[in-house]
């Protein structure tokens, strides 16, 4: 039952991502967000921060944001390690 509900949550997540980016804004700059499919996240280009999505729930708490390098989101894993260490 738990596995089924987790799977349902995940499936519901991917379709809803696009709609979310249309409604939600960056909690810090209040500017628009961009969807990133893999890893699922919402990017705030205005301040170069990415916010994760877990089970279809966007995590837009300012302290959950990971600062992106100007190149691209490939360095996401390193940033994730950093923020994990900071926490």
């Amino acid at each position: 039952m738990v596995r089924l509900s987790k799977w349902l949550l995940k499936e519901a997540g991917t379709g809803v991502n696009k709609t979310l980016s249309e409604i939600l804004v960056c909690p810090l700059s209040k500017q628009a967000l961009r969807v990133c499919e893999e890893p699922p996240s919402l990017i705030s280009d205005s301040i170069g921060v990415s916010f994760p999505m877990k089970d279809g729930i966007p995590c837009l708490v300012p302290t959950d944001g990971k600062i992106l390098d100007t190149d691209d989101t490939m360095k996401h894993d390193n940033a994730a390690d950093d923020s994990a260490n900071n926490k």
């Binding site: 519901a12 409604i23 966007p58």
Partner: protein, 289 residues
């Protein structure tokens, strides 16, 4: 005793702004009756709610004798939900208020029968549930699934900070915060964010545990709060400390009149409050004109 009275008089004569600032500062650095660093408060509160999340609804029933359900019903009735509305429920983790609003909107739809305009509006209804704690949101999302609302696109779950909301200005018809504002670090930021996201004509509603002044009843309530509740927390949830924090935080929160003036300071008009159960809870409301 006399000295306390004198200092009390003095402090009320000092500029009200100073008083407000010190009150807010003391809220930001208080964790129940303990003094903490401002930057720590959010984490400590986070731990409390991660601990209580799985038993949250059960404990609410125990502690309030089921009354919290009626209080939330009253809150939602003051909101006057309508199909097509965009509503934000902050600190609404386990979904109690959001589900009630959704039910209320759906019941309007049923009453309207075959009204094509209403059907389209119904599609547009959006209730955003925002909570800073992921455990509380998980409980809420699972409850939605159990109620068969898992696929309902009217409900949108977002993890966010009430002090820095991820919604646009002037986007919400309604804003509710039930039993949440007591736990934030900066009350004034939460109020100003609420003001920002509400549309003109939008309603702010806050349901919160408040202050009892009625003699005798006050003493009984104090006894219940400090002797019974933490013990109940220990027995039912295996967590005495979290419930100790909860009852202390109620006493540290500004009283009804003071909180009402803070809401007005944020820009809201027609600010009023209604006491329930002699002030055990209060519903504060304001309008963004």
């Amino acid at each position: 005793m006399a000295l306390r009275l004198v200092t009390k008089n003095l402090s009320s004569r000092i500029s009200p702004k100073l008083c407000s600032a010190s009150l807010l500062h003391s809220h930001a650095t208080s964790f129940g009756f303990k003094e903490v660093r401002e930057e720590e408060k959010s984490q400590m509160v986070g731990k409390v709610f991660s601990n209580v999340a799985s038993n949250y609804d059960l404990m609410n029933d125990f502690m309030s004798g089921g009354l919290h359900r009626l209080w939330k019903d009253r809150l939602v009735s003051k909101l006057s939900p309508f199909p097509g509305m965009k509503h934000l429920d902050v600190a609404g983790g386990t979904g109690d208020v959001a589900f009630r609003i959704l039910e209320s909107v759906n019941s309007i739809k049923r009453r309207a029968l075959q009204d094509p305009l209403n059907d389209d509006l119904q599609e547009e209804t959006r209730i955003y549930v925002c909570d800073i704690n992921p455990n509380m949101l998980d409980v809420g999302k699972n409850r939605a699934l159990e109620k068969g609302l898992g696929e309902d696109k009217s409900l949108v779950w977002v993890q966010g900070d009430a002090e820095a909301l991820s919604f646009e200005d002037n986007s919400m018809d309604g804003y509710t915060i039930a039993f949440g504002i007591r736990n934030v670090t900066h009350i004034e930021k939460v109020l100003s964010e609420a003001y920002r996201v509400l549309k003109r004509g939008g309603r702010f509603l806050c349901l919160e545990l408040s202050h009892v002044d009625i003699p005798v009843f006050k003493e009984l309530y104090d006894f219940y709060s400090f002797s019974v509740i933490p013990r109940l927390g220990e027995i039912v949830a295996g967590d005495r400390e979290s419930y100790q924090y909860l009852v202390e935080s109620i006493r540290r929160f500004p009283p009804q009149e003071k909180f009402a003036s803070m809401i007005a300071d944020a820009g809201f008009q027609k600010v009023e409050y209604e006491n329930l159960v002699g002030g055990v809870v209060a519903i504060h409301s304001g309008l963004k004109i």
